[in-house]
């Protein structure tokens, strides 16, 4: 029952946020600000985790492929596909749900508690449109970009780890990367990124925007939004895989 009311309120918020901007220039400014906040702000962590997840998947794949019949280049092929299909979109988005999500929830929660949202409303500004929409749009633009960067770095990480530990040579790795490449996988990864980006931004925005009470509630909203968006990401991951693969 509570699930239905929450979903209803969430959808109402999404609906309420669609309106004509009071001033396009200010909305654009806010959008750009959010893009740099979300994009630049989480670039560091994305770079680090992508590199290591590529490295780890190269080493572990090699460990599992013990048969001498299988050519070494297959390792590169497997690294490429797992990184593109699963690791880059899902793992990165789960991490971003923590980094970006808690930031959005606490920022909006703080604005709610300290009456800054009320102040916007009093000025005659649609606070949902001004505060929530730019965040969602920025996430939809920037997060898929981060996923692409992450996929590239993951593959690079696999190569460095593979050659450094003597598992396979750089030429084998490059050869493997070019074997049986399916562009559809990239499309699938992008479909996932857009879906997850929407969750990562809209769920925390919902919880943050509707905080009531004090500072304690902000923390609670931020935790809850991270949990809910992670669960939704994993569920959507399954649904999309079942549908699209």
């Amino acid at each position: 029952m509570k699930l239905f009311t929450e979903t209803g309120r969430y959808l109402l918020m999404l609906k309420g946020m669609v309106s004509k901007p009071e001033n396009g220039k200010m909305y654009w400014k806010e959008f750009m600000h959010q893009c740099s906040d979300i994009g630049i702000g989480s670039l560091g962590i994305v770079v680090i985790i992508s590199f290591f997840m590529g490295a780890v998947s190269a080493v572990q794949t090699a460990y599992q492929l013990v048969s001498p019949i299988i050519p070494k280049s297959t390792i590169a092929q497997i690294v490429r596909d797992t990184v593109i299909l699963e690791f880059a979109p899902t793992l990165v988005c789960i991490v971003l749900a923590g980094v970006v999500g808690s930031k959005i929830a606490s920022e909006l929660g703080n604005m709610r508690v300290s009456e800054q949202i009320d102040a916007l409303e009093i000025m005659g500004i649609n606070s949902k449109a001004y505060l929530v929409m730019p965040k969602i749009l920025a996430a939809l633009l920037v997060i898929p970009m981060l996923v692409v960067v992450s996929a590239g770095l993951g593959i690079l990480g696999g190569r460095i780890a593979g050659t450094a530990s003597g598992i396979l040579s750089a030429t084998d790795y490059t050869k493997g990367l070019l074997q049986n490449f399916t562009p559809y996988n990239v499309f699938f990864a992008m479909a996932k990124s857009y879906t997850f980006a929407f969750f990562i931004s809209s769920i925390p925005a919902y919880y943050g925007y509707n905080v009531s009470g004090g500072a304690l509630e902000i923390g609670r909203a931020s935790t809850k939004s991270v949990v809910v968006s992670c669960v939704l990401i994993l569920m959507a991951d399954y649904v999309l895989s079942a549908l699209l693969l």
């Binding site: 009071e22 001033n23 220039k25 200010m26 703080n110 604005m111 300290s114 009456e115 800054q116 009320d118 102040a119 409303e121 009093i122 000025m123 005659g124 500004i125 649609n126």
Partner: protein, 277 residues
């Protein structure tokens, strides 16, 4: 002018505003006084539409805020300036950007013009040299003044102030009161002020509404309030022994005058400032 008719608002099953009728006059400072928790903030938030009232009408120049369409409401709100009890400045913006924000949003003026206007209002609230500071870097009283500056920057038709001088020293308090009063008469603004500061009440109370546990208990102006016969109001105003004594002394003094040359009603209805004559 804002007319409030039979306004009711509750949270859960607890009624906070229990059917209030009031008229906020244009060009006057309309004060809402009452002890902490009497519902002043809730009442004001209903007036501006931040809380949906459970019952009643709120007429802005005859138009009911409750039944307005979103567009009409937006238009009305552009004429409203509000100072919140906690100032509600935007944390991520500097003082200057905070005050400029409504201008950025609703005017197409050049940056130079906007900056000129911002400095003008900051000057009026006696705040200089704080332009580049962030809200976290200024004192509570300064925040209040920035909040006022932001509220008046677009020349509103309706001004709402929730405790404009709580947390200010008596001198700054007076400056703020005078400023609000000046603006109100100068631009014929309908000003509504929540306060429990008796200085303000005496200085600027053109129309005073005393709220007691969500009900309007008394209404009058700053001349009448001294001589009021309402017990609850009197125990609210003259809370300290010192004030009680001061009042009694004053009463004796004034009384002598009344007995000597005119009766009380005449005095109350005249424009003369009884206490300062």
């Amino acid at each position: 002018m804002i007319e409030v008719k039979n306004l009711k608002k509750g949270f859960g099953d607890k009624l906070v505003i229990k059917g209030v009728d009031a008229t906020m006059q244009a060009g006057k400072c309309n004060l809402i006084i009452g002890s902490s928790g009497s519902g002043k903030t809730v009442f004001m938030k209903c007036l501006v539409g931040l809380f949906e009232p459970d019952e009643g009408e709120i007429l802005y120049s005859g138009q009911d805020l409750v039944t307005m369409t979103d567009e009409q409401r937006k238009e009305t709100r552009k004429q409203i300036g509000m100072l919140f009890q906690g100032s509600a400045l935007f944390d991520s913006l500097t003082v200057e950007q905070n005050v400029m924000f409504p201008l950025d949003m609703f005017t197409k003026d050049s940056y130079q013009d906007k900056l000129k206007r911002v400095n003008e209002v900051l000057d009026r609230v006696n705040l200089k040299d704080a332009n580049k500071k962030f809200p976290a870097e200024i004192s509570g009283g300064m925040k209040k003044r920035v909040g006022i500056a932001r509220a008046i920057v677009l020349n509103p038709k309706y001004l709402f102030c929730d405790e404009p001088n709580s947390g200010l020293d008596p001198q700054t308090s007076l400056v703020i009161d005078q400023l609000i009063k000046e603006l109100t008469t100068e631009y014929n603004i309908t000003t509504v002020i929540n306060t429990h500061d008796m200085n303000s009440v005496m200085e600027i109370g053109d129309n005073i509404i005393y709220m007691y546990q969500g009900e309007k208990e008394w209404e009058g102006n700053n001349k009448e309030i001294i001589f009021n016969k309402n017990e609850k109001l009197n125990s609210f105003i003259f809370a300290s022994e010192f004030l009680k004594d001061a009042k009694d002394m004053r009463m004796l003094e004034v009384k002598g005058k009344i007995d000597n040359d005119r009766n009380m009603d005449e005095l109350l209805n005249s424009d003369e400032d009884v206490l300062n004559s």
